[in-house]
Amino acid sequence: MKRRLRGCLRPVKMGAMGIAIETEDLRKRFRGVNAVDGVDLSVPEGAIFGFLGPNGAGKTTTIRLLLGLLNPNRGRIAIFGEDLRRNRLRALKSVGVAFETPAHYEHLTGRENLDITRRLLKLDKTEIDQVLSTVELSHVADRHVRKYSLGMRHRLGLARALLGKPKLLIFDEPTNGLDPVGIREMRDFIKTLPVRTGATVFVSSHHLAEIEQMASHVAVIHLGKIVFQGAMDELRGLHAPRLEIGCSDDASASAMLGGGARKVESRNGRLVIELSSAEGAKARAAAINRKLNEAGIDVHHLAIAPWTLEELFLQLVGAKPQFEQE
């Protein structure tokens, strides 16, 4: 397992073309504890890159290192090939960011909040209306932010990140605190960004389903270390699918199908067989169905079940999936 995971870590030579973010052996210590420990990230241009990890895994610390808000104890960061330490201003010119908790000047209007960033970035006034329209906040632009709902504050944060049309958008837990409708809206919005703006999106989250639904690439961080990095399909391909069987006689079926290297387990009233690979899974399912029918065992459920991201994630961070704990 570990060998397969290590194979997925592909440190890229700093300054490589087509890479939005590269980090090399990044480390940050707080009071003797490595919050980020030897992180090598390689975020391809144009991707929606999910940065997944449980709370306290080092996601926010990594993001703050990427933005120059924290100084690493070791390692290097490049944004579109610009070394962050040497050329912070040039590197950050292509970055827009929205933090976990949307922070705005509450006594000012949405428009005034955006005007602050616009002036500092020396942008044209028309940009404010453009980004307000993009996040659908034009109708409340002149309302004080203290009267905004949490969802509106999040969208204002996104609008601020979009000012200056950055090539890289970094979102730290963008759905934090939102209701299910808000989460879906935010997810749908982020999914469209690479097409609408041409930007690369780096989005951190501890919500697996969220990342699964919007990311093209993913890195999983746990205890400050990257435990997986690659395309979403590569992550899913780490484990071959399983065959779930519901039948009239579990004991006989289990005895018939087990044996040799094949492992048959009973979980939640069903038999689960780990397949050796995804190839030929359908043919094998049909063969097993036939074999059980011929033995007089009725099959009422037969499904090829890929590993869910949650199961993969729990495997990667070393926790047991819920069904195994039971």
Partner: protein
């Protein structure tokens, strides 16, 4: 830099800072207007204005500088906007320098307002009751000169005749000295306000500094105490006035530079 300063001014919209700006000078002016109008006649304009400036330099300036520095920092600490500001492609020092420039500008305006409101209060007291009218000593300068011998014309190193003849200039000059010598205490207050998220820390520093300044007046080291420097520029000894001005102004510029270097290295967790 201009954009950074403009941005700081936008943030002050609808904030309490304008109230502080008006309240500080108004309270000093009101106190001395009340004294003058209630019959505690200070008689001459220079005496009245110097008394008002002393109250400004000793209590109100350090206190309002503390509040302004704290408010400017809390604008970012409160909503946690430091991370956003410092992640922009703008030099970090510029963010803090713009706030320092705005603080100095606001306190300069407050100093002018203090002078103007003090003068208005003195004039109003005289208008309400002619018995409390303050005297312009300048027309009596020639008479005063004939009544004083050479020794009398210098009082504790201060040129009394200059005070009589050109009192407006002297008061304006001392008002400027009070302001310029407060740079060090403003820089210290800003640094503390930026560094600590808890507003009680810079507030305690400012109030504590002002409190200890009362005792430091009697100490030989009082000249080096930042919260006492504005007061010391109102003294009679030209040498001490110059020292207080130099320590406050040059020290303030030096302290501001150190603050900018330190704050630019600040890490946002």
């Amino acid at each position: 830099m201009l954009a950074s300063i403009q941005v700081e001014l936008i943030k002050l919209k609808r904030s309490k800072i304008m109230l502080v700006m008006l309240a500080g000078p108004a309270l000093v002016a009101l106190l001395f207007f009340s004294l003058q109008a209630s019959g505690a006649n200070l008689r001459a304009w220079p005496l009245y204005l110097f008394a008002g400036l002393t109250a400004w330099a000793t209590f109100m300036l350090p206190l309002t500088a503390t509040i302004i520095a704290t408010l400017l920092a809390q604008l970012e600490h409160g909503p946690k906007t430091w991370a956003h500001l410092l992640a922009l492609p703008v030099p970090k020092w510029r963010v803090f320098a713009a706030k320092a420039v705005v603080a100095l500008g606001l306190i300069a305006l407050m100093s002018l307002l203090t002078g103007a409101l003090l003068a208005f209060g003195g004039w109003l007291a005289g208008e309400l009751n002619p018995a409390n009218k303050l005297m312009d000593p300048a027309p009596f300068a020639a008479l005063a000169e004939t009544m004083m011998d050479d020794d009398d014309q210098m009082f504790g190193g201060m040129d009394v005749m200059l005070m009589v003849q050109q009192w407006r200039l002297v008061v304006a000059e001392r008002l400027a000295f009070v302001y310029l010598s407060s740079f060090l205490l403003i820089a210290v207050q800003l640094w503390a306000a930026f560094r600590f998220r808890n507003f009680l820390i810079p507030m305690a520093l400012g109030v504590g500094g002002g409190f200890f300044a009362i005792f430091a007046q009697a100490s030989q080291y009082g000249l080096y105490f930042p919260w006492l420097m504005p007061f010391n520029t109102l003294g009679f000894m030209p040498e001490n006035v110059e020292k207080a001005l130099a320590y406050g102004l040059v020290g303030g510029i030096g302290m501001s530079l150190l603050m900018l270097v330190d704050m630019s290295r600040m890490q946002i967790k």
